[in-house]
Symmetry: C2
Subunit: 301 residues, 2 copies
């Protein structure tokens, strides 16, 4: 257990609870926008809603080398033997490849893109490093759902992320439309912390990355959040980018359409928010899920 | 096996195949619209796309007694013991209640609604009877997906429906929106018959109504249908009605939102298209799934 005060207890009480977020959403001086990528209106939107989406952020031409790299990875025979590769429940199909910022020079270039790093640094009011990165493949025909969750809840309890000062960035590699199981976010839900029930078993991540069973918000909390805020689905062509707060409640339905939905997912954490001991008391998860080693400030490419 | 010629073989060959539909979509004289509910434009839309949807077809006030009847049914302790009740895979939660046109006077009134019967009679060019009826509950949070299927393929192979001369009617009891796993149809797919692979086991319906494993179209056929036609999602408030051709390819994704999605589903078949022996050679399914007994023309209420 960390010796740091736990501002966000979860998986301890026998009943769920919700509380207001004590941390800021946008860090630093919002008015100081000179030379920075986001306008005041964009900062205010992010602060209120907890996400920002940019349809067509990367052009097709910019995206092509990364898509080719993905195809190359996908076709490797040994891929399911890598520890950082997660397969679908009950099959050998690749669901996610983690740690791409360390294992793959091509994809690392994308994650260090100057514009991405500038945006998250502006929102977090500091330099950043990559806490986690991965490729998610959501196949056509039988793409599985991701149930509602706050990433922060898991990162806090299982990884020891102290405060809400991290941003997830999803770069779509395929079109996201209303039919192919797109990301759903509950705007405004980042202001509420939902404390979950249920102890976390050791090495939970080996199952949770396929299907989450702990850190799952209760129905009543979800009813409240959705009734207050509704549900929003950022959509757009391949190359669209969505930034979202580490605590926003999000999930996605299954995908029976023939249209696969793949994205690259990267979590930028403030260098002032590095991991401590997990607040759930378990031993830390591996570095490929939650970086502890390389937390030096990211150098934009 | 039926002695009637099988115009729509399926689950016989080792490879899937697709073929053009030999049957009409709209029966009778399309120009004879005097005194009938659908306009020529609506008939032509249905003929081309295979469906017609009417947002807010029934008003809230009209719908209320039926919703109350559903709540009453839902709360009955003995409901899961009824043979015509299908539960979710792996649980005792009610997924569907069949045979409501025979077992429930209140709901029968809805299914015999004068406007509904007039529309399907106009499209099918004859009097009609109810081939199948059911309530579908798609719960919030863990509503399951329905994979793509043509109803006709199953009704032909497992029930002996000779020709494509039946219409499904879905009456929504809750809002259908883009997020809660709404019905997806592939417009125009009703013109193509997808012959599936795999023998049908005896008493297949006991599993197939939870999760279909036979009569499942192959990926290549689905790719072709979607590439040619796209996907459409009829949406609207409770009380909306969608009519769709018995052979249109349709399905739905899962539903993790808190918004349940329930509907009443009724299949009207032409009195000139009553069931014969199943074309798959198995013994007929029970009457509560595929009516053989009461096939006299429906009297509108």
């Amino acid at each position: 257990m960390s010796i740091m005060e736990d501002l966000y207890p979860s998986r301890q009480a026998e009943t769920p609870s919700i509380s207001e977020r004590p941390d800021p959403v946008v860090y630093g001086d919002m008015a100081a926008i000179s030379g920075k990528p986001l306008s005041l209106a964009e900062l205010q939107f992010y602060e209120e809603h907890g996400y920002l989406d940019f349809a067509g952020f990367f052009s097709e031409a910019e995206l092509r080398p990364y898509q080719e790299e993905l195809t190359r990875l996908w076709e490797r025979d040994d891929i399911t033997t890598w520890p950082e590769v997660i397969t679908e429940p009950g099959s050998d199909e690749v669901r996610s490849i983690f740690y791409i910022h360390q294992s793959n020079d091509v994809l690392r270039r994308l994650l260090c893109d100057r514009r991405l790093v500038a945006i998250v640094s502006q929102l977090l009011g500091s330099e950043v490093y990559i806490h986690q990165s991965r490729i998610n493949y959501k196949r056509g025909f039988d793409g599985k759902e991701f149930y509602w969750h706050s990433d922060f809840e898991t990162w806090h309890i299982e990884d020891g992320m102290p405060r809400m000062r991290a941003i997830s960035c999803s770069i779509s590699l395929t079109e996201n439309n209303e039919h192919n199981g797109p990301l759903m976010v509950i705007p405004g839900s980042h202001m509420t912390y939902v404390s979950c029930v249920g102890q976390t078993p050791e090495e939970h991540y080996k199952d949770s990355l396929k299907k989450q069973e702990y850190g799952v918000p209760d129905h009543q909390s979800m009813n409240l959040l959705v009734a207050a805020n509704g549900i929003v689905t950022p959509r757009g062509p391949a190359g669209s980018v969505t930034f979202f707060d580490c605590n926003i409640m999000h999930g996605s339905n299954s995908n029976i359409t023939p249209w696969a939905r793949s994205n690259i997912f990267c979590v930028y954490n403030s260098v002032d928010n590095v991991l401590v001991e997990p607040f759930g008391g378990q031993k830390p998860r591996p570095d490929f899920i939650a970086t502890r080693q390389d937390v030096s400030p990211l150098q934009p490419a």
